[in-house]
């Protein structure tokens, strides 16, 4: 079946602009995660959804970052007033369960460049 998909694959924006990044999880997966990967480092957790609600947003760096999952499927990560330090690859993952111990599957990522 189809894997996790993310759009756009690349996004270049000017400092101060607003951006939205989209994630389509694997069909039927109830858990959805966002991670961020900076150059030369491993991915770092941002936020986790169980269904429609954000169960853990402890990884969001500040209040410029926000994510939604209104119908429990597609999710959008929103970044306001972008800064050059926001440049990174944003990865989305999904898993079939909402308790611990389920395998996570990652999308190809969105490479965000803030100029």
């Amino acid at each position: 079946g189809a894997g996790v998909s993310q759009t756009p694959s690349n996004k270049v924006t000017e400092k101060g602009k607003y951006v939205e990044l989209r994630c389509d999880p694997i069909s039927g997966h109830t858990a959805l995660y966002w991670y961020r990967q900076s150059l030369g480092q491993g991915p770092e957790f941002l936020i986790y959804f169980q269904g429609t609600g954000a169960a853990d947003d402890s990884g969001l760096p500040n209040d410029r970052f926000f994510a939604v999952r209104p119908e429990g499927s597609v999710s959008t990560l929103k970044i306001q007033r972008t800064e050059r330090g926001d440049s990174a690859v944003y990865l989305c993952a999904s898993s079939p369960g909402t308790s611990q111990g389920y395998e996570q599957y990652f999308g190809p990522g969105t490479r965000l460049t803030v100029t």
Binding site: Y35, Q37, P43, A55, G101, E103, Q104, G109
Partner: protein
């Protein structure tokens, strides 16, 4: 939070050689996954292995949960094995998120 350390940080092999990558973690885990990140940045699932041993072709993995480490074995390496290998764990007590190690960068030369 939980600490995840991978070794070695860099590895250069000749095609056909074998290698062992190690992942140490500092707390009990419910989930441990090994990933290969290819040159295009895609994270490819290799193993879901919170405990025990699994094999998939030339790759195998072992996790000894009581001693808090996991090993990834690559046999008869090929140039397509090049990339970064990540270990990621989900702490047993706490929230449902993966914590990644810093990775092992592997280069297999022909």
């Amino acid at each position: 939070g939980i600490q995840v350390e991978q070794s070695p940080p860099d590895l250069i092999l000749q095609e056909g050689a074998n290698s062992t990558l190690r992942c140490n973690f500092s707390d009990s885990v419910n989930n441990l996954q090994w990933f290969h990140q290819n040159p295009w940045g895609q994270l490819i699932n290799l193993f879901y292995i919170p405990s025990g041993t699994k094999q998939n072709g030339r790759l195998s993995a072992t996790t000894v949960a009581t001693e808090r480490y996991s090993l990834l074995y690559i046999s008869s390496s090929q140039t397509t094995d090049s990339g970064v290998y990540f270990c990621a764990v989900e702490r047993a007590t706490g929230f449902q998120k993966l914590v990644f190690g810093t990775g092992t960068r592997l280069l297999v030369s022909p």
